[in-house]
Amino acid sequence: MDLIWLIPLLPGLGAAVNGIFGIRYFSKRTAGVLACTTMAIALGLSLTAFVQLLGLSPEARVHDVVLFDWFPRTALEMAGGRIGSLHIPWAFRLDPLSSMMILIVTGIGFLIHVYSIGYMHDEPRGGVARYFSYLNLFCFFMLTLVLGANYLVMFVGWEGVGLCSYLLIGYWYEKKSAADAGKKAFIFNRVGDWGFLLGVFLIYFTFGSFDFREVANAAATLPVETAQFGTLSLITLLLFVGATGKSAQIPLYVWLPDAMEGPTPVSALIHAATMVTAGVYMVGRNAVLFTHAPMTMEIVAIVGVLTAVMAASIGLVQTDIKRVLAYSTVSQLGYMFVAMGVGAFAAGAFHLMTHAFFKALLFLCSGAVIHGMAGEQNMLKMGGLRKHLPITFWTMMIGTFAIAGMPPLSGFFSKDEILYKAFLSNKAIWGLAAFAALMTAFYMYRLMSLTFFGPYRGAAWETAGDGHGGGHGDDAGHGGHAAWHGPHEAPKSMTFALVVLAVGAVLAGLVGIPAALGGGNAIEHFLAPSFEASHGALTAGGTGHAGTGVGTEAGATTYSGAATHTEPATAPGAAAFVPAEGGAEISKAFELGLMAFSVLLGIIGIAVAYRFYVRSPEIAARLEQRLSGPHRVLTNKYYVDELYDATVITGTMASANGLWTFDRHVVDGAVNGSGWMTIFSSWFSGIIDKYLVDGLVNLVGSVLQESSFVFRRLQTGLIQNYALLMLFGVFAFVSIYLLLVRSL
């Protein structure tokens, strides 16, 4: 367990080697094998760590590994004027929740790496190394995210997976739509990160720590904020803003469908199984904070269920096979948030795990279809592929039944658990979630029908030379095919992953069989410690449960309540807790009824889709015409992208251009203006100087000069002249004298 830091580091090294040397020097095979090897070792380490963790007693299942200081201690003021100490180490923590997550990431990650070798086979050599470098880098960041022991280490992973998502969506960077989609994903994630960071700042400000456990323990001593929207509510709300960005919830979900521009294995790994579930994981990680903020919990549940319904409804009419799955992912993530919002953290994490299996499976199957169809993604141009891609068909069928919640596949247990918990909490939320389940079954079977049943509607492959590629040409790698020989099954490296994941999609639910069906719900008990504040001993120096009073009591009971079907959002204090416990006992028969109901919904959905798209396809066409209005709204995804375009993007660009004009003309205008003023005033004073000041000086000068002109004549230097002048002088004086005297 002391080696858990190696789990993220190995793929990180793989990424570095492939990135620095691989692009230049490695063959496609070397790059792929290197990447797969790092993941295989990481998977082995994860399994070892997991087994070791299981060997401990449930309370002791926490293991910290601190590498070194990241941010050394620095004093900083906290709430109330206390001076705390900001200190963040590179710390990793293995506990039940993170051990589950690393198994998912390394396990599914490994399979998808293997699958990618086949899928990316037609890419150019350097491209493959670049791809594997990014993919490994993604695993590095994702594992950092789930293993991080404090908010900041988690944030490293949090942003890093966003970066890898950006790089991988834009893998075919020459295509504008791919580059656009990558950028969109990153920026929408950043909007969420804005909230997340502010939440983290507030966490330090309130608790003086960034460590998950210390914060949880400190929060556990605070009162539950039922009445007013307090600090904890604000913290959790800000964190949830981050989650909506990363996990594609309303209002920040629009990037995920566009993210399908990336290669399909990327969609499977990042945009279905792992990265997008980071928001769910983060909420689960902060379970203690959220349970103390019932108002935020309500918001989480409402946002989750609305996203689930909205995305599922869009999924009903999409024709691009990957986009259907993308909206399905958004919808299923909404489900997980419903679980979080009603306090069923374990159920949410359980669904996260099962979803990782079946959604990765579905995506990889769609990838196999796209591969077999030489890049075609439009389901209307498929059909009847059952015969050509048998393994893909059967495995995808398993995935479809799993996501539709058919027993005993994995989706049944996890989805049912969520519906059950939602029912206990809030009937409206349960109703909407059940409706979403119905739509899920429908659109998934619609996908299956359009792809695998009915007549073949695609390009003829005898003339494949001009026909192939279709309108989308997404998986550009297939441009490398010399000729397309019709739909064909995927190579072994790909089908291997499909089969393993299908087995997983069947069996993963077994760890969470609810008590009502005679199971032990092992996963819930296993994960429970991660969702509670620790009781003393585990964290030396932590706040522990020293604080007493209503808060502690309410907190503690709430957690045990959550483990036994209690709903903390509606059970704010100890008082509300007891009846709920009783209620849970009574409802055993009822629980089975609910289960049957949700299975029924799934069957209805599948049956309707079967009728619409397999038995009598004309119904679907007629329906489409009759309901053309709603159909258009759904096809256009409720015009949300257009709305964002018209408001946020246009607004930002307009203000950017406006400010740029302002900057040139007003701010810089003032500078240039004062420059001109200086020049003008200097010109003006130049004029004054020249004509007035200098004029006066010159005037004096010229007067003197002019006058001197007269006098100069006198000073000729000739004796005769002087003598003459003297004579004139004498003459003048004598004349004056004579005149004056005579006149007197």
Binding site: A75, L76, W90, V156, L163, K183
Partner: protein
């Protein structure tokens, strides 16, 4: 080691002097000599990293000699943590800038390198001066070479930009000089009874509040223009756009830091009361600058101008962190200055690379470059990520500390300032997409050569530093401890009173006790080493800081922190913005 700083200071100048005697036609010889001296300048500055004692709270590597005794101006050099980091950044970026100019400059090669090396000395001098007049001298020395660099080797509107840069900065520095003189005439050295320009003494003296206000405003104008803060920023995009690559790199990486360095070195410790009073104003301007700079950057069509406006945005963040007036914010602010030097310096180098190949900065002229220049694209990607603050790269360290620091002051400010991270990602990613992604549509770009070895070498140290600071910033942050303490003792003394149960009141009881206790001691007492490990409080120390009202002209050397805090906390508390609480 006694003359290490002088050695660092004059190495580039010697290089410039040597170049004067080289025949201007032997251009390659000139290039080699300039590079050698720049590299030597960097190497002689390296001992600072290793021998700077981050536990010793006093000025280090001090050199003092009479310069103009009649007016009390000394040749007085010394460094603390801020100066060490910025100095190393300067010598490194100087060497990189000179290396990057090898093929970019083909006219008047000799003069170019001479100006660059003189500029280098000017910048180093400003960072190491402990005498205000000396500082001002170096401050002005920087202007002239930069003016010529832009005016001679620049592009398009180079004369306009050069003159604008020169006059704008000069205006600020004239007003700043008035501020310096105001301090000069209001303080007499208690030992000599004469006026002095000694910064160390200024930092321990409590000036009148009203004087502080006026001097703060005078300094503000000088420094804010240099930073540049909104609305004094418009010289920057012009200067950056028209400067040659090396000029832009130096301008972004080092010259802008003069402004922020001025604030942290002079405004905060010398004028603490005024600083506290002006926090709302600076914060408002900074937040406007962050958002405004980012939005205007988004509207740019000129690659360099875009990076220039991103600089405005980033430097505003630096200012905001500094005026959080707490250790986290100030540390973040300094580390962000280093980061900005690294990432923005690199971004200007990157523009320079393609400018040299294509002679245009129009973003629309490019596109799809990652196809033909993969190494370039990869380096650009790393530097872009560093610039937008991706965790595990350097930019995040600064951003996080600054925002966390300002958050404790005001949540609203932090919320607005943090929008910069979204906008920053938007304009940088868009730039990256427009230049690197897509198909090559301009036939001129089809055969652009990728980076050569020399060009790669200009980026390697920057990438290493970006990753190092991002993952293990402790060596950098620790070197700032004592310097931050010195500033904090002046502007936010409550950190000392609450955190250290006992704070030694004067330097006589030398051992630096608790981590947050500070003894701003004069250089004359720097001899006695600070040995006590941080975190322990010797028992024999007084338990309280008492503001001792020793008159300024008194006989006792002014080394009491008590005195360093003018009518201390009572005056401080109301002035501190309370938005956060």
């Amino acid at each position: 080691m006694n003359h290490l700083l002088s050695l660092i200071l004059f190495t580039p100048l010697v290089g410039a002097a040597v170049l004067m005697f080289v025949n201007k036609r032997s251009e390659n010889a000139i290039r080699w000599i300039a590079n050698l001296f720049a590299m030597a300048g960097f190497l002689v500055s390296l001992p600072l990293w290793f021998y700077y004692d981050d536990k010793n709270p006093s000025w280090q590597f001090v050199e003092q000699a009479a310069w103009i005794p009649s007016i009390g101006a000394d040749y007085h050099l010394g460094v603390d943590g801020f100066a060490v980091l910025l100095l190393l950044l300067t010598t490194m970026m100087g060497a990189i800038a000179i290396l990057s100019s090898w093929t970019a400059i083909t006219e008047r090669v000799k003069e170019f390198y001479i100006f660059l090396l003189i500029l280098q000395t000017g910048m180093i001098g400003a960072f190491v001066s402990l005498d205000f007049l000396l500082f001002f001298l170096f401050w002005e020395v920087m202007l002239v070479p930069m003016y010529f660099l832009i005016g001679i080797w620049g592009s398009d509107r180079r004369l306009y930009s050069a003159i604008k840069f020169f006059l704008y900065t000069l205006t600020g520095s004239v007003v700043m000089l008035l501020g310096i003189l105001a301090l000069y005439f209001n303080y007499t050295d208690p030992q000599t009874g004469l006026h002095t320009f000694d910064i160390v003494q200024f930092q321990q003296h409590g000036f009148d509040t009203s004087l502080q206000w006026w001097v703060f405003l005078a300094f503000f104008l000088g420094f804010a223009i240099k930073v540049p803060m909104f609305p004094f920023h418009t010289w920057l995009p012009d200067a950056h756009t028209d400067a040659p690559t090396a000029g832009s790199v130096i301008l972004a990486a080092v010259l802008l830091k003069m402004g922020t360095y001025g604030f942290i070195r002079f405004s905060l410790p010398i004028l603490p009361d005024a600083t506290r009073a002006f926090v709302p104003m600076i914060a408002t301007l900074s937040i406007i600058g962050i958002v405004y700079g980012a939005l205007v950057a988004m509207a740019q069509r000129d690659w360099k101008r875009l990076v220039a406006y991103s600089s405005v945005s980033h430097m505003a963040l630096v200012m905001l962190g500094m005026f959080a007036l707490n250790p986290v914010g100030i540390k973040g602010s300094i580390i962000q200055q280093i980061n900005h030097g690294i990432s923005t310096g690199a971004l200007f180098l990157l523009v320079g690379v393609v400018y040299e190949r294509r002679h245009t900065r129009e973003i629309s002229e490019y596109g799809g470059l990652s196809k033909v220049m993969p190494v370039y694209a990869a380096i650009f990607c790393v530097m872009m990520l560093s610039s937008i603050g991706l965790p595990a790269l350097n930019g995040f360290i600064g951003e996080f500390l600054i925002l966390q620091g300002i958050f404790t002051v005001s949540k609203i400010w932090a919320a607005f300032a943090a929008t910069g991270i979204v906008l920053g990602a938007a304009y940088m990613l868009w730039l990256y997409q427009r230049t690197m992604f897509g198909k090559i549509e301009n036939p001129k770009n089809e055969h652009l050569p990728d980076l050569n070895f020399r060009e790669v070498m200009t980026f390697v140290p920057l990438i290493i530093l970006a990753v190092w600071i991002g993952i293990y910033p402790t060596p950098f942050l620790n070197r700032l401890n004592t310097s931050v303490d010195r500033v904090i003792a002046r502007v936010s003394p409550q950190y000392l009173q609450q955190n250290a149960s006992g704070t030694p009141a004067d330097c006589g009881q030398k051992p630096a006790a608790s981590k947050w206790q500070v003894a701003p001691c004069g250089p004359d007492q720097a001899a006695s080493p600070a040995t006590a490990p941080a975190g322990t409080v010797p028992a024999d120390q007084p338990t309280k800081v008492e503001p001792k009202n020793i008159p300024a002209g008194g006989t006792a050397p002014s080394h009491e922190p008590g005195k360093a805090m003018p009518p201390a906390t009572a005056a401080a508390a109301p002035a501190k913005p309370v938005g956060g609480r």
